[in-house]
Amino acid sequence: MRIHPRITQRIAVTVLSAATVLTLLILIFIIGFIFEKGLPVLSLKFLTSSPEDMGKAGGIFPTLIGSVILPLLAIIIATPLGICTSVYLCEYTKETLGTKIIRFGTDCLAGIPSIIFGLFGYIFFVVTLGFGWSILSGGLTLAVMILPTIIRTSEEAIRSVPKSYREVSFSLGATRWQTVKKVILPNALPGIVTGVMLSIGRSIGETAAVIFTAGSSLRIPTSIMDSTRTMAVHFYILAREGISAENAYGTAATLVIAVLIVNLSAYWIMNRFIAKRS
């Protein structure tokens, strides 16, 4: 039997729109659930006091520091490398076997699961290089993890700079490097910043790669060689070991608020960038 196209069309619209609504509802439910349970726990005191009794009571202050400093270190390391890579790929070479290998490597690195980064960071930074469980080991591991994101977004941003900008700069007698420095990078900056923000968001939420490299010390770190515990790791330990449901919800809410702020600002920058371009 052949169903009339108008009916299949109506069925399709219903099913596809239902799928979309369901997906949005899942997102709203997750955020709503965490906020409903977690926001009542949040207070200035919760954010600024240290955990007591392994996190059963008290606040999350040291983990806030961990969640700021690890992503910060990671982007300080990965951003210059990522930008240089994309400048090289876009401005200094044509498509060769070399660039194909670089692209393939970047794609593969992007797909590697965080637990593998955790294993690598542990055996390479913690054990072989002797950095121990430290901010340094954790930051370096995260840097390797976010490198492909930064390369990709910077590459897109650089490619979106109109060709005419380059031609004008070259015709004024500027060298390639002067063009990159004075024309291309300033124009690609918002796109690059978006990539960096998204990477910060990913680093804040990361657990598997961090727990085996930065450790889980609850003390406030005083040097880069100290172990630290991020909010994500703290939340995982609280939830998994059933230490305190209340504090787990509070930590989860802080974590979700942090990644939402970072990601929404990334979109905001991106949108302003696109609006300016067109």
Binding site: I102, F120, F235
Partner: protein, 284 residues
């Protein structure tokens, strides 16, 4: 001599450009260096196909974990792939561009939510529902599949939408001009033209599901067990590594790195397939 000469800049940039590939090689080198000697000593067949994982007795068979990883991933695909592709078509074919520009980033926020939060939602909300309605421990293969199915949605949606939008508008116009409905245009024209991108998005989602660790540890139950029903508690390859890494030493730790080798090789194969599929789309 000028330090910032064109030649020097180019050299520095080129060196930086090889950082990603060097990192990849370094990761492979160190994981394999720790894991491969164990595999040679213990025997690949014994390692991959034996059912018993009892580190204290020196038994390291990861067959149950491989099975569990495959089933959890399969379950995640059954949930995530149709849902994700449906959303992608709805957003790119039925909804005005202005609406899509708001809805797509909103859905991509799903990717921003940390995996531990997904795991927690699984434990607090999903597991009790499964336990009360279907029985079993609740923390199970089914719970893991549902949570992973949700987690891979943004990957599938975002890459699928991009490849559907890359289909030339003239294809659609041709089809619509012949009197086809939007749906007929989708399944006779657009889906064929964007096939390789959609497949790539599903494979990348698959890779994400295989590699996910924290959410799975929290919701799948972690019993070393070849599952007989979706309600059984299972332990995936990733969970196996993360659960025991904190205290493993000696040969036990090597066995965990060997588990990492298996995972690494699997993921690289998946990603290579996806990257070939995506490139095919770009060549077109």
């Amino acid at each position: 001599m000028k330090l910032v000469s064109e030649k020097n800049v180019q050299r520095i940039l080129m060196a930086a450009a090889f950082s990603a590939i060097s990192a990849l090689l370094l990761i492979a080198l160190f994981i394999f260096n720790e894991g491969l000697p164990f595999i040679f000593k213990y025997g690949l067949k014994n390692f991959l196909f034996a059912n018993e994982w009892q580190p204290q007795l020196g038994k390291f068979g990861i067959f149950p974990m491989i099975t569990a990883s495959l089933w959890v991933t399969f379950g995640a695909m059954i949930i995530g792939a149709p849902l994700g592709v449906a959303v992608a078509f709805f957003l790119s074919e039925y909804v005005p561009k202005s609406v899509m520009r708001i809805v797509k980033p909103t859905i991509e926020l799903l990717a921003a939510i940390p995996s531990v939060v997904y795991g927690f939602i699984g434990v607090m909300v999903l597991a009790p529902i499964i336990r009360n309605n279907f029985g079993g421990p609740g923390l199970s293969l089914l719970a893991g599949s549902i949570i992973l199915g949700i987690m891979i949605l943004p990957t599938i949606i975002s890459i699928s939408v991009d490849s559907i939008l890359a289909v030339p508008q003239s294809y659609r116009e041709g089809s619509l001009a012949l009197g086809a409905t939007v749906w007929q245009t989708i399944y006779m024209v657009t889906i064929k033209a964007s096939k390789s991108g959609i497949i790539a998005s599903i494979i990348l989602g698959l890779g994400r599901a295989v590699g996910e660790t924290m959410a799975v540890i929290m919701v799948a139950g972690n019993a070393v067990n070849i599952p007989h029903s979706p309600l059984d508690s299972v332990r995936t390859l990733t969970a196996n590594i993360a659960l025991e890494m904190s205290y493993a030493t000696g040969i036990h730790r090597q066995a965990l790195f060997a588990t990492g080798v298996v995972l690494f090789v699997g993921i690289i194969i998946l990603n290579s397939i996806a990257s070939v599929a995506l490139r095919k789309r770009m060549v077109k």
